[in-house]
Symmetry: D2
Subunit: 337 residues, 4 copies
């Protein structure tokens, strides 16, 4: 017999909230038990679309005995308090990244989060992408011997609106944060960070004192190297690649195309259509598998979900990168504490 479905309360009904709501209704074993949003009409629309109950406040939702677990998809500044409330209410929680833009706030919750008995899961969806997950599995299986150099390329199709970017915490905390988590998924014990950031194509981004292009180099305690290349734009679509080089070979994940059709013409040959323009499409399956892993965690089963520690570590690396880019030197980090 199937176990009783996990009744999930969703906090935040914006773009990512919609993605989670859809995953919940599409996933056997999950139920969208309640929704809440600072904008009541957003919550009502979501409840109507997917069939759910609207709560008046996040606290009411978290403490409701109709809610078994919580997904936090509200704005970043609310995350720390909401996770805190979930711990108090003993409710497993999946929180969108980042935990907070301010490492001090994260540190303040950290002892309590670490001691908590409930799963606190961070929304690093990319770990669940079937392609990157398979890369990870095969590296762990020893196919390339010892991993020596990991290269991650991540380029957005186009910059987000400047208003968003201005409050995003900067490229390292907003965009590279995914790559920091991906790096740690392969090389957990990073000990140093060196970052180079420039604003070379966007005057808007320059005007808010942020970078549009960054390259980050990291090393682990055993000398493994990771290099991340980011850009806030890419003419050919969302560029998401990884390459793991080891003592016995190399494994690579290149970009996903909607179909395998290739074209030969008078101008160019063997050509594919440009890549998808959105992380929602590229990582649609990853969002679903992220939810499945969360359900495992909620049920006390083995789960690969990233934890509060992973969320904290990614932010530590982002902070170190920001400092490195500014001070133009290598920054040491200690992720083992």
């Amino acid at each position: 017999m199937s176990p009783a479905p996990v009744r999930i309360g969703l906090i935040g009904c914006g773009r990512i909230g919609q993605v989670h709501a859809l995953s919940i209704v599409a996933t056997p074993g999950a139920e969208l038990a309640g929704v809440v949003d600072a904008v009541p009409t957003a919550a009502e629309a979501t409840a109507a679309r997917f069939g759910s109950t609207v709560y008046g406040t996040p606290e009411e939702l978290i403490t409701s005995d109709q809610v078994d677990a919580v997904i936090i998809a509200s704005p970043t500044p609310t995350h720390v308090d909401l996770i805190d409330a979930c711990i108090d209410a003993d409710k497993p929680v999946l929180c969108e990244k980042p935990i907070d833009l301010d490492i001090e706030r994260v540190e303040s919750l950290r002892p309590k989060a670490t001691a908590a008995s409930i799963p606190i899961v961070l929304g690093f969806n990319r770990r669940f992408d079937p392609h990157f997950a398979e890369l990870h599995r095969r590296v762990q299986a020893g196919e390339i011997g010892t991993l020596e150099q990991l290269s991650i390329v991540s380029r957005d199709p186009a910059p987000a609106p400047i208003e968003y970017l201005a409050s995003s915490g900067g490229i390292f905390r907003d965009m590279t944060i995914h790559d920091f988590d991906m790096a740690r998924n392969f090389v957990p014990d990073i000990v140093s960070v060196s970052a180079c950031g420039v604003a070379q194509f966007s005057d808007e981004i320059k005007s808010i004192d942020d970078y549009d292009s960054v390259i980050v180099t990291m090393t682990s305690s055993s000398g493994q190297q990771v290099v991340v290349t980011n850009s806030r734009h890419a003419a050919y679509g969302y560029d998401q690649r990884a390459e793991a080089f080891g003592s016995e070979g190399l494994l690579e994940v290149s970009n996903v195309t909607d179909t395998l059709v290739r074209r030969w013409g008078a101008d160019q040959v063997e050509a594919r259509e440009p890549y998808q323009n959105s992380f929602l499409e590229r990582y649609a399956v990853a969002y679903q598998l992220e939810l499945v892993a969360f359900l495992h965690a909620v049920r006390g089963e083995p789960s690969t979900s990233p934890t509060f520690h992973d969320g904290w570590a990614a932010l530590v690396l982002a902070d170190a990168a920001a400092r490195s880019a500014k001070e133009r030197r290598v920054i040491d980090v200690d992720l083992s504490v």
Copy 2:
């Protein structure tokens, strides 16, 4: 408001029946209203698994007022009579290919089927594969000018059990039938068929007087050429490709891999994992989209579903191929009647 769901009755609960049952429960707008199978326990297990009602006979299911439309996934010899019953009951029907192994039986139903007002849809799922559908869309859009040569490669991972093959009607009616429909999807007006069949690797297949490897060449009324290459085995997995060559270029669909991971090692480089070993995996999405198109047809909306005529035409081509291989000459066909 969503339209009322289409209540579908499923005849046949074997391997393909299971695929359809799963598609029905996973597709919004469809409902598994009833199941029936010559083996009652098979019907009961399916009803229990997906939640449905067991009917005693196909006729009861077809005529039930709880059933809006029918999917026929029972053995081939039953197809003609069941389609006939659906016409009488005015129930839209999706029938697995082939309509029958005997063209005479198909011809006997043809006038009635042609005159019928309900949709009679054939289960040529490959038309709905996203890759081949996109190939078709781009050829139709004129990307390669006039289509001149179409090449289809289709190789199974391994022969089916000899008992199955012995009653399959031969490779042309059992396996190439899909390629005949694919050919007609691009080049509807085929006028000649030339086939070459050999049994070169399987003594079992030779012993039932069938071929394990065939090459079929066809031409259309305007001189377009189609070549189909089949084998009953392929060491590297299910091989499903198509290449459309036209006056202005070429479009190709190569094989699908589970993930995009590629490997570089001391022995080989740029290598992918072997292909999926089963049409169920390879065409999982195609089966779902086939159902969606059937729902459109049932609701009287525009639909790309293949018709009884398509089922008949594919069988005419299969018969012509069998005759060509035996008589060692080109066989003319007339699909326009």
Copy 3:
């Protein structure tokens, strides 16, 4: 110490003659000892460009004691008599394909050619292409087990001038002839030929009663299948591919690009530049290696050069294909006699 260079006399100073002249001067161990052409100024220009002696007639060149071996690159109708003269003069000879367009004339020389003690080599340069040669080597080495199906695609960038085509002997003797030899290089004992020819895009070609597009299917005595797809045009350049399918896998050679540069843009991704437009470029290295193999044959060393028998066999297949396309039936051939 190096052996004395082989002094080669070149008959015919047209386009292919120039290619041979260039190969000779660029190849250690070969010397361009003499040239002759029906157009004396052509011979003189070649002699001046590469440094050589002009002969008055082919016979003078063939019988000269300054000439060790002969390359025949004159028009096809001259080939049989010139080979005959080389046999009489005991001079090893490399003759461009085809031996003749008329199989009767070839047959008339065949007994003498077969009995001759000198190497009579046919200019099937494609055997020496490094890519196809490696494909051959790996198939012979058993990498794919038993070869079962061989697919050759060969498309020209654009039709030759209609004047040339009108006297070319037809597409099978002029263009497919290369593919017949390639087929026999992998599958020597072909026993049946079935060909389908159409004139679908060129009214000019139709007007001379030739085909612009052909598909040829062949079988060997053990049931191996070969399929050749030809077109007289290809928008994306010279299309030269082969695919060998066997019991344990598949080996493929796709098209050569000048460089490995690939492009990602807003319109298309992973795109290469179109292929080379000429066999002279595509097979430049093959022509050189063809000469090297000829030098080995001249010196009595082991050589992979195709023989008079190969030239005869290719023509037999071309004749069979022409007849099959016309009579619309399979034609049996016997290449073992």
Copy 4:
């Protein structure tokens, strides 16, 4: 009429010297006029093999009126003095990289070299590789808009013998030096260098206080970013790639394989053979084209040959990288002086 051949004197008859000798005899317009080596028997063997005159000392060769131009392929410590002697003798010179391991020695010759009227060409052969040259041409032609991020991957098949490495000047001056020049070929005005070096797989390399794996990040005055990834080993062969990302797209050069044969088997599909194991094979054509460009320079024709300035700049970058890796901070450089 062809111009008189350039009579070239070759200093150094080791492995690279042999490559140059072979290029000279194979290149129309060049003549191997003389050779010299510290080991007389090496010079004699080279003279015998290629047909040339042995000189007693480099000075005699440089000042000989039988020598028009000089190629220096002797050990690095001799380069500065020999270039100096060529300037004094007014002889165009092509010198293998690096000019010297000690930037002070290079600086001491720099004013004189800059003022010299003869071409002083540095042996950065990789600029002449057809693939990288085409990449460069297309980037210059604006195909990707403004170049923003350049990524170079360069991995050797296996470390050179430790004795060689110990006197090589370290990985930045010995191996990355090629990548520094490649970087400058695309982005000449580099202003900062940040390097991360580790010895993670070779205890031998660690024992000589060198790195076996490095990642170098550079920026140009306009903010362009370059990242170089090096390793002293690669299980799959010599790994030589570049990727140029710009405002309008991306251009890539991946690795060269001997042939285009790909293999499908039960274990892996679409697999190529491992890459060549040696720069001599990979860059064989590049060495020839490097010589052709040098001949152009000697004759006063337009030439793309890298200059003394390029050799100096690459060494400045190597020094900056070594310092950056040690001091763990960004090092500013000024290549405009």
